[in-house]
């Protein structure tokens, strides 16, 4: 595929890796807050290709991992209702709620449908005027424009049988929360490329200066991720802290103004619970007053549903980089991909699932560069 395959070129990957190996002299910890980047790292084995003293911490960048337990429980209640067609992205289908998950609800007779786009849900609402169609609107800033436009379309079409269950989360407040944490080990960040496509890069300037950390806006193909890591490491080695854009083909400092306008019309900022982390103020979006009639939590009266996380699940500490998954007592014991306690073990790009895969074998990494031993 054009503008995709070229960014997986192994010869160029080797050049970037060699360049990194030749410059890194000290141990560094870098975090990516983006499920897509985590996926690329695991999919291509990037972390083992880096010098042993570079640690990649997989941050809370996957909506699967951070959607609060009570939102999932509310989704499950709504999805089980006979009049509802519950539409969701595939990512959320297996995330465990307090007792069950969407696919089990489907097994029990709930009309749960996987869709590619929120527009598919609107189409279903048009086709089934006798049913209530609910769309599970999770995601970071990247997905908000799609969800926002969909609600506007529903209004324009006069659909009274369509609603959104909203659980949007924002990256900059999460980064702030991580940086403010006393156990923060992160020294540099890869910023999520497509979040910045929408929001621009300006939001990260204050973070760079307040916390004196490099932040590099990074794409998703192997070369993009390697380049983001390289620039972050070079800043760290040089003692610099700057905002850099390593994904200029898709990101500008201003972002997408049209999308930002529509988002501001349809959503408003609110406090959000992040699963495993807790409440981060002003870190989410909910429907604005003008669109409150499309709010599924109101329409189905599930706001009262609260949930209790598993006491054994340390996903919050993992997501913030305070511990590695193997340091969690439940890891590989009560908590496995087979029977996950928390979201980072369910999601294939969750940090815990990623580590679980690699603990199965003890392979020396023959392609590892650099002379420093793994810490």
């Amino acid at each position: 595929m054009k503008y995709l395959d070229e960014f997986s070129d192994p010869v160029l990957a080797a050049r970037i890796l060699d360049d990194i190996a030749s410059r890194v002299t000290k141990p560094w910890s870098i975090m990516e807050i983006c499920g897509g980047q985590t996926h690329t790292i695991i999919r291509h084995g990037i972390d083992q290709l880096l010098p042993g003293n570079v640690t990649l911490i997989h941050g809370p960048g996957c909506p699967v991992c951070v959607t609060p337990l009570e939102i999932i429980d509310r989704a499950l209640i709504i999805a089980a209702r006979p009049e509802v067609i519950f539409c969701t992205f595939g990512d959320m289908a297996r995330v465990p709620g307090s007792r069950t998950d969407l696919l089990q609800v489907k097994a029990a007779g709930g009309d749960v449908r996987l869709v590619y786009s929120p527009l598919d849900a609107v189409r279903l609402a048009q086709q089934h005027p006798d049913r209530q169609v609910v769309f599970f609107a999770i995601g970071f800033e990247t997905t908000a424009p799609a969800n926002a436009m969909t609600v506007r379309l529903a209004r324009q079409l006069g659909l009274s049988n369509f609603s959104l269950l909203v659980s949007h989360v924002l990256v900059p407040p999460a980064m702030t929360a991580i940086l403010e944490s006393p156990s923060c080990r992160v020294q540099g960040f890869l910023a999520a490329g497509h979040v910045c496509t929408v929001m621009g890069t300006k939001q990260y300037e204050p973070l760079v200066h307040r916390y004196r950390v490099p932040i590099v806006v990074t794409g998703f193909e192997p070369l993009d991720v390697l380049e983001g890591i390289r620039r972050t490491l070079f800043q760290l080695e040089d003692g610099r802290f700057e905002l850099e854009n390593a994904y200029p083909r898709a990101v500008t400092s201003e972002g997408n103004a049209v999308a930002q306008t529509v988002i501001n019309e349809v959503f408003k900022v609110c406090d959000r619970q992040w699963r495993g982390i807790g409440l981060i103020p002003q870190s989410g979006w909910r429907l604005s007053a003008a669109y409150a009639d499309f709010d599924a939590e109101e329409r189905f009266d599930v706001r009262g549903v609260v949930a209790q996380e598993s006491a054994n699940c340390r996903s919050g500490d993992v997501l913030q980089g305070a511990i590695t998954p193997p340091e969690c007592p439940a890891f590989g014991q009560e908590c496995t991909p087979r029977r996950p306690l928390g979201a980072p073990m369910v999601s294939s790009e969750g940090a815990c699932a990623a580590y679980y895969q690699f603990r199965r074998i003890d392979i020396a990494a023959p392609t590892r560069r650099g002379s420093a031993p793994v810490s």
Binding site: M1, K2, Y3, L4, E6, F7, D9, L12, R15, I16, D18, D19, S22, C34, G35, G36, Q37, G61, C62, P63, F89, Y116, S117, P118, L119, D120, G139, F140, T142, T143, P145, A146, M149, L153, Q156, L157, A192, G193, H194, V195, T197, V198, F220, L223, E227, P248, R249, A250, V251, N256, V258, A259, V262
Partner: protein
């Protein structure tokens, strides 16, 4: 959050007051909403996420980035470094 891939705009039309397009992703064609990239034209590339075009892909920039990768390490090689 992030899965957005580049595709080429093949056809543009209007539906329910919104600009829509058929975008080709390496042989796979999907209907995409262009509301967020109003100046996107036929033959141009865009990054699409969950059925919405989010930006026009800057082709010149893409080539520059690749060129940057290609020249990585070469200067050092020429100067006899590792």
């Amino acid at each position: 959050m992030c899965l957005g891939i580049p595709g080429k705009v093949e056809e543009i039309w209007e539906q329910d007051g919104t600009r829509m397009a058929t975008v080709d992703f390496g042989g796979v064609r999907k209907q995409v909403c262009l509301a967020y990239v109003p100046d996107l034209a036929l033959g141009e590339y865009t990054i699409v996420h969950v059925g919405f075009a989010l930006t026009k892909l800057d082709e010149a920039s893409a080539l520059e980035t690749l060129e940057l990768f290609r020249s990585t390490g070469l200067l050092e090689q020429e100067m006899g470094g590792t």
